[in-house]
Amino acid sequence: MATELTAADARPNARTTVDRGLRARRRQERVVGFVLFGFSAVSILTTLGIVAVLLFESSTFFRQIPLIEFFTGTRWSPLFESPHYGILPLLSGSLLIAGGAAIVALPLGLAAAIFLSEYAHDRVRRVLKPVLEILAGVPTVVYGYFALTFVTPLIRAIVPSTSVFNAASAAIVMGIMIIPMVSSLSEDAMSAVPRSLREAAYALGATKVEVATRTVVPAALSGIIASFILAISRAIGETMIVTIAAGATAVLTLNPFTSVQTMTAFIAETAKGEAAHGTIEYQSIFAVGLTLFAITLLMNILSNVVLRRFREVYE
């Protein structure tokens, strides 16, 4: 840079030296831009890789198991003498547990968001918010341990017929885990509602709770709904809590006190059991993975659409 200029000035052919420096720097600029672009391509390649792997490997699976049977079959028993590959039991397991988690997390998370955004003192919020965020940072195996050794005995004390591995325990703990997703995204949306709206409501004689529930929440609704969808999508994709606490029985049931198997738990169990490469059982991992990926991707896109399409913009 500057040194090149002074060094160049001292010599008669200063002009060409500067030019050469400039040319080198321009070349460096191009190379760097190219390399950084290459780095960015990795994230695109990751997506393509995921899609390609899932599609390619499950295509061999679907050559043996027709799509209709896969999506409408009510029995999932890859290890039986005559194996059945109907994904509905796994799907219902995932939805049962994600639904249970939603029943826990959505009201609690929304209430926490209202409290943090509308009621809490600055000092209280500065303590409570990071503590809630810790809930999202606890490793899921640790949650699994907690569900199995703490929550399950509690449930069994209330409903004695509950089996050791059950959907309810996994759902409750997973609900606790996704509270911060709901609460922090919803709180962001509620904090973005301009103060003038609240003041207008107060001026019309509304009490604080009326301002919170009838002005702020409706105004922030797109953000709140988006946070709900994201949290449920996260619950569907979660693996360890369900593998540890919900068991490995693929049954089509809505009873939360029995053992169920989710899509994620099946994938983890099968991979752990080291199913031989090339067997149809091994390939079923990819078919289930593809279904899981499609569901979570659709939900994430949906949450984005809700956020963009239905956002109230205040300027």
Partner: protein, 324 residues
């Protein structure tokens, strides 16, 4: 929103003046000395205020539930596992005998995986962030890259495990090794690193760049010597938090094939391995209570590790972040 919002719960102005002139409907007897409408308003106002208090208390309790469960989780784990947490446990090999079992291979494995993941994900993530913030033209392709990163952040970790199993374990023939796990976890946390780095780069004011350009710097020189150093604390904070997520993940590691039982300490990137979350998983899956206590003890170690990393991230942010 701060607490100074005007929010008197109860003392809503009483519009008695406005109500008083309301003429009673014809044919009815003249109003009693106290206005009936006014009375009803008072009653309803009290009910509304009561409802407001109840609602506030409920919201507070809902917030507390999360905190209480967190406390219960910590108490549960410490009660079950603390007495197993001995030097022999930290320094021992997994064993069929509870008294001798330890987590040394898992600790070393986690350290290996963390370091390799950091080496892979840091340049990739920061490079992508720099490209997106400083180089990328504002066109369709850039928007696709950006949207894609947001979507990747929402892909379940087990799907990354499937990718790792097919691509790294089999495709690149890395086997069930530390390196395969590190590559898989790098892809998993890459979106988080990118987004955090982008935030940090965005926070550097444009005047810094313009100043560098005015002195004759090329774009890369402006980034290398001005923007990057200023954004580094934010980037480091985000990377450490992302790494702490990688350290706690078990699902992708199961897919990539961590060993359930390991009798050696890994020394090379292509060695077989286990990590702490996987060790917890294999202990918790055993029916014996004693092994579950080992799982609790290993959970304490894992939580302590994560707490340290988070504390380091927060310290970095508070110590080095500059406001402009």
């Amino acid at each position: 929103m701060s607490g100074e919002r005007p929010g008197p719960d109860v003392r809503v102005p009483r519009p008695s003046v406005a109500r008083a002139p309301e003429a009673p409907p014809a044919g009815e007897p003249p109003p009693a000395p106290t206005n009936r409408n006014d009375d009803r308003f008072d009653v309803r106002l009290r009910a509304r205020a009561r409802f407001g208090t109840v609602f506030a208390v409920l919201c507070f309790l809902a917030t507390l539930i999360g905190v209480l469960v967190l406390a219960a989780l910590l108490v549960d784990i410490f009660r079950d596992g603390f007495h197993r947490l001995t030097p022999a446990f930290l320094n021992g090999m997994p064993s069929r005998f509870v008294e001798r079992a330890g987590i040394k291979p898992a600790l070393v494995g986690s350290a290996w995986v963390m370091v390799l993941t950091a080496i892979v994900s840091f340049p990739l993530g920061v490079g992508t962030a720099i490209w997106l913030e400083e180089y990328a033209p504002n066109n369709r392709f850039t928007r696709i890259v950006q949207t894609n990163i947001a979507n990747l952040a929402g892909v379940p970790s087990i799907v990354y495990g499937i990718l790792g199993l097919t691509l790294f374990v089999r495709g690149f023939a890395l086997g069930r090794s530390i390196l395969a796990a590190a590559f898989t976890l790098s892809l998993l946390i890459l979106p988080v690193v990118i987004i955090a780095s982008q935030e940090a780069i965005k926070a550097v004011p444009n005047s810094i760049r313009l100043g560098a350009y005015a002195l004759g710097a090329t774009r890369w020189e402006a980034i290398r010597y001005q923007v990057f150093p200023l954004a580094l604390p934010g980037i480091m904070t985000g990377t450490i938090l992302a790494l702490s997520r990688a350290i706690g993940e078990a699902a992708p590691v199961i897919m990539v094939g961590a060993l359930g039982f390991i009798s050696f300490v890994p020394t090379r990137p292509l060695d077989g391995f286990t990590v702490i979350p996987f060790q917890i998983f294999s202990w918790v899956s055993r029916p014996q209570v004693a092994f579950q206590e080992l799982a609790a003890a290993a959970s304490i170690v894992l939580l302590a590790l994560l707490l340290t990393m988070n504390a380091a991230a927060i310290w970095l942010r508070n110590r080095y972040t500059r406001k402009f």
